[in-house]
Amino acid sequence: MPQPSTATSVATPPASINPPSFSKRASDSIRVHEALDSVCQRVAPVWPLADYVAVNPYLGFSKDGFFATSQRFREFSDCRMLMPLDYYRQCFGAGEFDSTHVDLAIDELVESRVPGAEYLTGHDLLSVLRSSGDDFGSAVGRSAVPSTRSISSVFDQRHESDWTTFIHDEIGKHCAAYYDEGQSLWANPWKGESLYAAWRAAMRHDRTASILGLSGLGGLVSDLPGRPEDAVVELMRSAGVPADRHDSYLLCLAYEQPGWAAWAQYRSKWLQDGQSKAGDGTGNDLVALLAMRMAYDVAVARSFGFEPEWPPADSEEALPPGVVDANSDVTLYALHRANEIGYRDKLLSALGASLTASSHPMRSQKLAQMVFCIDVRSERIRRQLESVDDRITTLGFAGFFGLPISVIAPGEPRATNQLPVLVAPRIAVKEEVRDANESARAHVVSQRTLVRRMRKSWKAFQRSAVSAFAFVETTGPFFGLKLAARSLGYGATSGGSRYDGVSKAERDRLGPSLTSLRANGLDVEAQADLAVSILRGMGLTADFAQLVVFCGHGCQTENNPLKAGLDCGACGGHSGEPNARLAAQLMNDPEVRRGLAERGIKIPQDTWFLAALHNTTTDEIAFFDEDLVPASHAQAIDELKTTTQRAGVQTRQERRRVMDSNTDSGMNRRARDWSEVRPEWGLTGNAAFVVGPRSFTESADLQGRVFLHTYDHRIDPEGQVLEAILTAPMVVASWINLQYFASTVDQRHFGSGAKTIHNVVGGFGVFAGNGGDLKTGLPWESIHDGESYRHDPVRLQVVVAAPRETIGEILQRHTSVRDLITNGWIHLVACDEESFYRLTSNAMWEPVPTTARPAPSEVAASA
């Protein structure tokens, strides 16, 4: 429900020259509302920087096909979904794919009925790939100008003016001021009202537009109706947008500023009254944003007496057979798909070899089972750990370890959500000093409150218009020392406030409290149920080792507002530490263990669960709550630490190639250097998601490009565990994958540009430079090393080791997940009976054509 506006402004009815009949108005209004609803379904949200998680920016289009979406975008924006031809030429030249893959790609395109695909031939595409430059011009292709554009941009093009940029700057200014979470000392006076009301109130005083020569905006805004929905209806009429273009026009405005649109969407649908929502909030900020944008459009039209035309949409001309347009979308799409198939081939042959090699020793004597996050960065360290000590086995599971929690630090106003954003938190866990009494805990809170309040006053002193001068003159010289220290890599500030008010002796014991579960209404039975679901989910229900390690992950980086993007996405863009620690405590609890035994999971007496954190920047692994470990396990832990250290060294050595670093210390420097723009590569390169037993992937070097989820279909006959995997972790992996994809193929709309000009706005986002649109997605430095792309934009290749039938049943129950696959947002391959089958766009299973790769069965035969 749209919220009624709280604006108290003059709401005089707009003067309309020719009042249309009532019924005409009503039907107009219904049509506009329909268009609005549809646009609000399309735009994907973006999270604030502190909780940044990767979001699939094509989220709202997943009911349509990938290629159809790219064509739809062309109607109203210059968003691109494919790389330029040169990129595919380079991949081809580098041997990433070959002619067989091109042929297979064409077949797939024809199969999924991509228009124009039937005219493609392998021969033509190869000649495109082998030629260079613009031998194949794009003369035949359609123009790059979308058929539906904003009025201001049509006007700008015609008159060589710059109103559209100005409008974007203005909207950026208003949104930044309204949403500001504490950057400005003097906050927007209308923060308590809706975005739309706040904007109208500010526009009563704002003279910028009129000074620059855009007259009449103030009057126009004050004449608008009080509700943004009504304003959109009215402005749509004023703008004269034809009814069949309502949808495209609104989408055009939304994707002109994809950042603010996404933020408005987040504030409307994923946040309500400070509580996180799973996309079902009821705000209307996006509608307000569109109303604001339309007002400027109408103002441009009125102020300059400009009447926009709405030319018919032009469709790509079908080419006669034998003529190939190198830059047409369908050509690029075929090459793109060929590149993906090239990768699929390499992946499947590596998996096939691993599957049949079975050369890995039986791990009879077990030191530790280490559970890592499915994150692609776990792949390297898992491989190295197993190679250093064959008494270690590793597992992959979503890094929040199945705990739907939010964590509240002592004395802090807000809880941090430690779970995937698709899930709403169910358990509020307190962070507190373990084994401390009430008064000690209260002391922590009061100390912390005092320290932080003083910091706050100090900041106010630093920034107020009266005292900023005195602040500078009295403290400036000390900043000279700080400059020197930071330049030399000392005085790191990251994470410094975590232990405010906590004494040194207490620090190691500050962690999530298990007793919070009971406070949230989870009695022992419920806790045991939770524990069962976690262990079942990771397939760890028997054969427990002496140590079971839940290893979360986090990054270490200085002066980096995009830090959360390098942390654990499954933990809502935070470190996985609290989840790992809570999960380990839960499993060690004697009562929970009793409950587990009752439910059929018998954990041996001498099995201890341990929490750890994988530092993905330095590949060091830290362990927690060691004081709780029984003395009997001390030696095992020492051995494990030695192993993790050696594995860390080897992983760093392996990563040197990708980090352009000659020494181990290079990684440590990156972690502490305040000027470092590439502390690590994060999930760059992610390409596949493999669901299966470790034996499936064990002997394959997957180069840190693959999400690994442990799964054994033999202990999941009903497919319940698989159902959970395909509906949650796989979707999260796809979000991450498509975020990297979009940031690479269209850095301008879905990437955040050069980090060097990032300017944190409002404490929740970044501007590139002065202002304008909010920048979302990966920065340029995260996907490109200055010489070449480090991220190869391929859609997620999922490989599931499970019977096709089980997978098919699950997909039938979850049509939205099936849509992702059949519409080409994810590619799914099943490994069933030692053969690979892919799910086609018609939801049929088809054997994966073997090219250079030997089929698993062949490998088995020859072995």
Binding site: R448, R455, S467, A470, V472, S494, T756, G762
Partner: protein, 517 residues
């Protein structure tokens, strides 16, 4: 002893400016070499400058008036400024090693960074007024190239060219000032000029000429140091890499203030110039200060903060408090360089001050503290000043600036009083005394190093002092009213105008080139 280290510094600075002559493609091809040589030169410059400062403060270099002084005029003012500039330069180079890694134009970037640092250093060191102005122009042109590091960004081009226009306006005034100086004195050597001026104007005509020269130089400085209404380019220059912002805000934008301090013996003889500086400075403090507190992005806050700070520095010059202005220049540069380079940590910092605050009702203690806090601050500051042996009334503008400082400290104490927490209030009171002490220590150090080169002035015109103090009382009232939610009807429009930087940017844009081309 001949000033060998300052001469060496001048050589190094000259070598850095030679970067102008190198072709960009070559620099970008041999990126590593370009980066290493610029960083090496800047590091050497810093070492030489720091060494020279140490020698100067131990009394090794007497102030010279010979021909060598025409080449390098090394005194307390230039010693401090050179050390500062080369230090900031070195920090910026070190930062840019990694920050700009992978940028295909990193070589070119380092060349212009080096050239900017070199040119500023030359301006600081030279003993010739014409060379000084020429070096400032070279600085501005080198910086222009850095502002255009991303030439495809329309915002970057707009900012660079509006800065270009403001700077060239300033250049005209400065060159005019240099011309009249030469006509009047027949020399441009600083040492000779200062010697000639020391006696004071011989005739009313000479006084008028001095007034003209002083005003031209002041106007040039006003244009170069982002003073209202020529400041609007500064908040627009965020389209350039962060270390360039650091260099600009900590080094280059100070050039106007430095010029005023350097030429203070002359400026002091031109009351009109002093009045201009105070008025423009005060207006800039108000516009910059109010705009600063309403901005919602971190770098824009910092940029408007620089505008306000530059205004304050000019205002100090106008009051004749050149030592205080020099302290401000140094302190602000260090702070602002750090603030820009560290601007990516703003989220971490917000985390460090996030706290659940219960709704407070003002207690009796809070009310009492609110009233008594400022009194305590004034009494405390005067006590500290007296015990350190500093006679505020003997320093030009001393009383006015002390009053401004006390107002600022009071603002901090009032904030603590509002919290109704005794510990916090006590900490704020102690802190304000400590800060007062820091200020006096900083002031006395700078004054000790530089006083020999700065003129002794009588107190500024009373109406200027009243204006300045009134301005700060006004700012304090606005802050308290906003903090307590008073006067919403009046403050709402003020908020919107301040958010828009009082439309100066829009007016400049309209004046220069309307959006509708």
């Amino acid at each position: 002893m001949p000033p060998l280290l300052p001469l060496l510094s001048a050589l190094l600075a000259g070598a850095l400016t030679l970067g102008w002559l190198l072709p960009a493609p070559m620099l970008n091809r041999r990126r590593a070499a370009a980066v290493a040589s610029v960083t090496g030169l800047v590091a050497s410059l810093f070492i030489a400058a720091a060494g020279a400062l140490a020698l100067y403060s131990s009394g090794f270099y007497a102030l010279r008036t010979d021909r060598l002084a025409g080449l390098v005029y090394y005194d307390g003012v230039s010693a401090i400024a050179l050390t500062l500039v080369s230090f900031i330069g070195l920090v910026v180079c070190r930062y840019s090693l990694r920050y700009m890694a992978g940028d295909p134009c990193q070589g070119d970037y380092f060349r212009w960074t080096g050239a900017t640092i070199g040119a500023v250093s030359l301006a600081v060191l030279t003993g010739n007024l014409l060379v000084l102005v020429a070096a400032l122009i070279a600085t501005s042109l080198s910086l222009h190239r850095l502002l255009l590091h991303y030439p495809d960004r329309a915002g970057a081009r707009r900012a660079a060219w509006s800065k270009f226009a403001a700077s060239r306006l300033g250049d005209v005034a400065l060159l005019g000032g240099v011309g009249v100086t030469y006509l009047e004195f027949g020399t441009l050597h600083l040492a000779s000029l200062f010697a000639a001026i020391e006696a004071g104007p011989a005739s009313p005509e000479a006084a008028t000429t001095l007034g003209v020269i002083g005003s031209l130089l002041a106007l040039g400085a006003i244009a170069k140091s982002a003073q209202f209404p020529l400041h609007s380019w500064l908040p627009q220059t965020l389209e350039t890499p962060t270390p360039v912002s650091a260099l600009m805000h900590a080094g280059v934008v100070n050039s106007g203030g430095y010029l005023m301090i350097r030429m203070s013996p002359l400026i002091a003889q031109a009351p009109l110039a002093l009045t201009l500086l105070t008025l423009f400075g005060a207006a800039t403090v108000m516009v910059g200060g109010l705009s600063m507190v309403t901005q919602s992005s971190v770098k824009r806050t910092l940029a408007y903060s620089t505008v306000a700070q530059m205004g304050f520095m000019m205002l100090q010059c106008g009051l004749g408090a050149f030592s205080a202005a020099l302290l401000h220049l140094v302190a602000h540069s260090l702070y602002k360089a750090y603030a820009f380079l560290n601007s990516g940590s703003v989220l971490e910092e917000a985390k460090g001050s996030s706290v659940a605050v219960a709704k407070q009702t003002p207690s009796h203690f809070g009310r009492a503290a609110f009233l008594l806090g400022p009194v305590g601050v004034v009494v405390g500051f005067v006590a500290v000043a007296l015990s350190s042996g500093l006679d505020l009334t003997a320093k030009p503008g001393g009383v006015t600036l002390a009053a401004v400082l006390c107002l600022a400290l009071s603002a901090g104490v009032l904030e603590a009083a509002l919290s109704s927490s005794r510990v916090q209030f006590a900490a704020a009171m102690a802190g304000s005394l400590l800060l007062g002490g820091f200020y006096l220590a900083g002031y006395m150090s700078v004054d000790w190093l530089a006083a020999a080169s700065l003129p002794a002035l009588s107190a500024p015109a009373p109406w200027l002092s009243v204006l300045v103090i009134g301005l700060f009382i006004g700012l304090l009232l606005i802050q308290v009213a906003q903090r307590l939610g008073w006067g919403g009807r009046l403050l709402q429009p003020l908020y919107v105008h301040a958010l828009n930087g009082f439309y100066v940017e829009a007016m400049v844009r309209r004046g220069v080139r309307s959006i509708r081309a």
